[in-house]
């Protein structure tokens, strides 16, 4: 369906990534946000708290990030699209209830404007070291979706996609911004509401007496209902059967958790999204995302001028990872070069998919700044040898 015009600030704006993300959420139909202040993400909720009262939305500043994430999962069960916003330390606190959201299959969006870590780390400065945490941070097995924007415009566009994906697959979606994109101010074009496609909550049409919350009838994704509509359903963070009733058995664990994992794996081809450039006949392919995708640009151009054929894969959806494409390319290129603002996270995934057919060369940066393009260039030149 088309977006509700009440949440769409149509026009050309000069916005930072945080504000653009907030605008994206409102355009997507988000009407409940619970959050706790944390640099460098706070501007997202500052934007939302200013505009929400004019569109029927509620922002509540909770007592901590545990509460924020719990409230978001609760609100999701009312059908109201819900989001929380944080950075590294808060992201760590949210993990418990991100797991609850995954287990209950409650659609919602978690924005993480990444800063340098670990612990309090570099509150005001950039990092990209929460990428693995976005996938593995909560205990147990589950799969979810993560996106990473490289500009304020993408912060707007991809936030809408994040909400849509969360509704389609009934998962918490991690929106992995970074401090640079969050605080970078650029032109952001917000289209008219009728040009924005949003996915509404799809409610089951079954009668209450016919309905069970986790019946899939051979499919991957159960039909949802919401609290207050007379279904009198039960849901739990415990391993549960199709009725949503706890069942403490290895058999039920297999049915319950395998589906949580497979609903994303089976649909990975539809979810995976990346930009690919000049990979035909490339010697080296740079795999990159977020702010680093833009910083690496210059290093890539420098290497091309020196005669190296350099291709680029820019991840837009980070999880699920574009395994198939990396596997294919691994048979054709000498090496992958992976610049990222951490000491090696996505490079591990590239290495896994390359499976020894091509080298995976990290270009690490601990955070607090972006890469020197020369380092990216040198890594490409080294890898091309």
């Amino acid at each position: 369906m088309k977006a509700d015009p009440a949440g769409v600030l149509t026009g050309a704006h000069y916005l930072d990534g945080d504000f653009a993300c907030g605008e994206g959420a409102m355009a997507a139909g988000c009407r409940f946000v619970a959050g706790y202040p944390i640099t460098p993400s706070t501007e997202v909720v500052e934007r939302i708290s200013r505009r929400f009262p004019m569109m029927g939305g509620i922002f509540i500043q909770m007592e901590d990030e545990l509460a924020s994430m719990a409230a978001v999962v609760g609100a999701s069960w009312t059908g109201t699209k819900s989001m929380t916003v944080t950075s590294g330390p808060g992201f760590s606190l949210m993990m418990e209830n991100i797991g609850l959201g995954a287990m209950m299959e409650a659609p919602c969006v978690v924005v993480n404007v990444q800063r340098g870590g670990p612990s309090t780390g570099l509150p005001t400065m950039v990092g990209q070291a929460d990428i693995m945490q976005a996938r593995w941070g909560s205990h147990g097995d589950y799969e979810l979706i993560a996106l990473s924007p490289q500009s304020p415009q993408e912060a707007f566009d991809l936030t809408i996609d994040a909400f849509n994906l969360s509704e389609i697959y009934r998962v918490p979606v991690m929106f992995m911004m970074d401090e640079c994109v969050g605080h970078m101010t650029e032109k952001v074009v917000i289209p008219p509401a009728e040009e924005i496609e949003v996915v509404p909550r799809k409610l089951s049409k079954l009668k209450p007496e016919e309905y069970w919350p986790y019946s899939v009838n051979g499919g991957d994704i159960p039909e949802m209902v919401r609290a207050g509509d007379g279904y009198r359903f039960h849901t739990t963070g415990l391993t549960h059967d199709h009725r949503g009733y706890p069942d403490m058995s290895a058999e039920c664990q297999e049915l319950c958790v395998r589906r949580l994992v497979e609903k994303i794996k089976h649909n990975a081809d539809k979810i995976v999204r990346f930009e690919e450039e000049e990979t035909d006949g490339a010697d080296v392919v740079v795999v990159t995302y977020g702010i680093t995708a833009r910083v690496a640009r210059m290093g890539i151009e420098m290497a091309r001028k020196k005669g190296v054929k350099v291709g680029v894969i820019r991840l837009i959806v980070i999880w699920p990872f574009p395994e198939k494409r990396i596997r294919e390319l691994a048979g054709m290129v000498k090496a992958f070069v992976v610049p990222e603002i951490n000491y090696g996270q996505i490079v591990l995934e590239v290495e896994r998919c390359a499976a020894g057919k091509a080298a995976a060369v990290p270009v690490s940066h601990g955070g607090g700044g972006v890469h020197d393009p020369n380092d990216v260039c040198q890594a490409i030149l080294g890898a091309a040898k």
């Binding site: 509460a67 409230a71 009312t78 699209k81 209830n97 609850l100 207050g228 039960h234 849901t235 963070g237």
Partner: protein, 301 residues
């Protein structure tokens, strides 16, 4: 007495007056014989019936622990959430669809231990919810560890030489945060507890009812207090009703007087009322409140 056959047991169960409020397909429940939680559930279900509220709009949210299992047995929209987070989960449920009547049903360890921060802040904000806290003075589900409510010097499995940590006086804690309705009963006070639930269901704001309940498996056994029956007998002999008493006076000592009653019952604007009134005042016609039925966007038919 003649033997009851399986079929007859089934019929008897379905005839139980609160069967329509329970997930009878999940019986038998996991609670120990003489546990007080079932009694509290019975009182709550009876109060719901007497209250006349639309059950389709009632949600029960629980955390983790013995009392945390209540949500799983209530035939309502019922959410069994994470440890300590029932109250913030309930906050999202209430604000996401303001017409919901939300009850949080959980234990002392869950709500006052790991969830203590949420308890006080939600009281401060006066979010519209009824919190039923079943206090058995101990962590039951995990095997009798010390709770933030364990009296001095009661024994628990992690205070094998007796507890030396001062416990919370919970009615006083929530009253000082601004709760609009505060009461305490024991699971022996079936009639009064039911009446209190019914009364609180019709109030607004952050309502808190503490129910002292026996844990014979752990609390009574570790402290050699006898069986659940003996604890009930103790409540009978040592519970005193003092309506309106200063909540500073209602702390519970070991095997000491349990002061019960309705301590606070007052009207105060809830979070949603404060928010809506404030925005109406400062934003005028520009303000659009969250619809009572929630902020869900729908495909136009």
């Amino acid at each position: 007495m003649s033997k009851i056959t399986t079929d007859e047991t089934e019929i008897l169960a379905q005839q139980h007056p609160i069967a329509p409020y329970l997930r009878m397909d999940r019986m038998p429940h996991i609670w120990c014989p003489t546990c007080g939680i079932g009694t509290v559930v019975k009182c709550y279900a009876t109060a719901l019936e007497q209250s006349g509220v639309d059950l389709d709009k009632v949600a029960v949210v629980s955390g983790i622990g013995c009392t945390g299992r209540v949500a799983g047995y209530m035939k309502l929209d019922a959410f069994h959430t994470t440890h300590g987070r029932a109250i913030p989960f309930a906050t999202g449920l209430k604000l996401g669809r303001p017409e919901m009547l939300v009850t949080v049903f959980s234990g002392d360890g869950d709500l006052a231990g790991i969830g203590g921060n949420h308890l006080i802040h939600t009281g401060r904000r006066n979010i519209d919810m009824l919190v039923i806290l079943v206090n058995n003075f101990i962590y039951g589900m995990t095997g009798g560890q010390n709770a933030p409510t364990t009296p001095i010097p009661a024994r628990s499995s992690t205070m094998p030489y007796g507890n030396f940590e001062p416990p919370f006086n919970l009615p006083h804690l929530v009253a000082s945060c601004g709760a609009t309705y505060v009461a305490r009963w024991t699971s022996l006070h079936i009639r009064r507890l039911t009446k209190s639930f019914n009364e609180a269901i019709h109030r607004k704001g952050f309502r808190f009812i503490e129910v002292i309940a026996p844990c014979s498996t752990l609390y009574a056994r570790l402290n050699k207090l006898g069986t659940g029956f003996h604890l009930m007998q103790f409540y009978h002999d040592h519970a005193e009703i003092h309506h309106g008493i200063d909540t500073r006076e209602v702390g519970i000592g070991y095997q000491d007087t349990i002061i019960c009653g309705k301590f606070i019952d007052e009207e105060k604007p809830t979070f949603l009322e404060l928010m809506n009134n404030h925005y109406r005042k400062v934003l005028g016609d520009k303000f659009v409140p969250m619809p009572l039925e929630g902020g869900m966007i729908r495909e136009q038919d």
